[in-house]
């Protein structure tokens, strides 16, 4: 990946042991439009703000919530173009799993593979981390599931979560309920 002149990672440790590019990526996510997800006893809901730059834009041409498989959906906060790349890769991974095992991919597996892609871009040469956090909502044999994946590639399962602008207000609201 990358030109030979850039075969070193751009995401390197700072003297205090932090990966600063990932932190900047999280800042980019934090200034994106708010999204949130809630896991119920019999399903999962994800939602996001859809504010378009002008009334001239055709809102049907923009879809922030995307389907990865018939039973797994995803929403993002952060940079739309980066999100499209991840959706495309995840869909392919889900299809490859299905081709090999002849069954739909479990939510945890798909989340793990997507997170692995995001981690790759924090360590490979000549690339920057993805500027998106994902909320993956799915329903499989283990019931309803909700995962949040960060630009670093770490993921956690949540009962409810929010990301983007005003995330602290959103999380306080969700915690109360």
């Amino acid at each position: 990946m990358g030109d030979s002149q850039y075969s070193f990672s751009l995401t390197t440790f700072s003297p205090s042991g932090k990966l600063v590019q990932i932190e900047h990526a999280l800042t980019a996510v934090g200034s994106g439009q708010t999204s949130l997800g809630i896991k119920a006893a019999n399903g999962v809901v994800i939602a996001t703000e859809k504010k378009l730059p002008s009334i001239l834009v055709d809102e049907t041409s923009v879809q922030k919530i995307q389907c990865l498989t018939p039973n797994i959906g995803v929403v993002y906060s952060g940079m739309g173009p980066d999100f499209r790349v991840l959706v495309r890769k995840s869909r392919k991974q889900a299809e490859q799993y299905h081709r090999l095992y002849k069954e739909p991919i479990p939510v945890t597996q798909l989340v793990r593979e997507t997170a692995a892609v995001m981690q790759e871009f924090t360590q490979s040469g000549g690339v920057r981390p993805f500027g998106v956090s994902l909320l993956v909502a799915g329903y499989d044999d283990n019931g309803p599931q909700l995962y949040q994946v960060d630009p670093s590639g770490s993921y956690f399962s949540w009962k409810a979560s929010a990301m983007g602008k005003n995330v602290s207000n959103a999380k306080t609201f969700l915690e109360k309920r």
Binding site: Q5, T12, A25, L56, T60
Partner: protein, 247 residues
């Protein structure tokens, strides 16, 4: 090496700045504006029209070779605002992709699929350090078999949007968008003549000058003739006359 914390390199290659911004992408937008050209696209109920300024910097230049309007296939047109050299690369790749699509799938590449492809390619340049983003905003137009006339705009950041009625790009982009938003409040459905005249008069009003037919380029697609066409100087003259008579 201070590369990890930015250390000034966040302005040189596409890595994040401390505020989570990509400076190279923002500079690419500035390069589009620095070209000094404004373009406008208008979508009517059965046609789409794009208009751009044609600035020929030297009288000795062959005017026919100075263009920002490119046919991608017989049915898809692309208006590239910004750096001409980057535009030509993009057009070349788009033509290749559209031709392969037609060969592989047996039907013409739709407008939104081409726009998404252009936008995805632009996204790659924003994530890989070894290639800079292109300094071009591309407006793609065509007649979709199912959805009718379509107008999409793709920018250096990798965003792409479909536009219901109109959009703009270039140095006076914001003024043009403000002007068009006011006009489009009632969601009008323009005929072909109205589409072309709205586009041309919007450009004239935003740049505050009246054009001669040789100073602008106009490209159209119509539902009854879905081939992408660049209007000749005579046709542009007719529209300009119609506008000045109307006013």
């Amino acid at each position: 090496m201070s590369r990890g914390s930015g250390g000034g390199y966040d302005r040189h290659i596409t890595i994040f700045s401390p505020e989570g911004r990509l400076f190279q992408v923002e500079y690419a937008f500035k390069a589009v504006k620095a070209a000094g050209i404004t373009s406008i696209g208008v979508r009517g109920k059965d046609s789409v029209c794009v208009v751009t300024q044609k600035k020929v910097p030297d009288k000795l230049l062959d005017q026919t070779s100075v263009t920002h309007l490119f046919p991608i296939t017989k049915f898809l047109g692309l208006l590239a605002t910004g750096m001409t050299a980057d535009a030509r690369t993009l057009v070349q790749q788009a033509r290749n992709e559209a031709a392969e699509f037609r060969f592989r799938y047996g039907y013409e590449m739709p407008v939104d699929v081409l726009s998404k492809w252009i936008a995805d390619k632009s996204q790659v340049y924003t994530q890989h350090a070894y290639m800079r983003p292109l300094g071009v905003v591309a407006m793609v137009l065509g007649i979709d078999e199912e959805k009718g006339p379509q107008l999409y705009k793709c920018d250096p950041a990798g965003h792409f949007y479909g536009h219901k009625v109109a959009t703009s790009a270039g140095s006076k982009e914001q003024e043009a968008i403000n002007f068009l938003e006011k006009k489009m409040k009632n969601d009008p459905a323009f005929t072909y003549e109205e589409t072309v005249q709205t586009a041309i008069s919007a450009l004239q009003s935003v740049l505050q000058e009246d054009f001669k037919a040789t100073e602008i380029e106009v490209g159209v697609v119509k539902a009854d003739n879905p081939a992408f066409r660049v209007l000749s100087t005579e046709e542009i003259d007719e529209h300009l006359t119609a506008i000045s008579e109307r006013d």
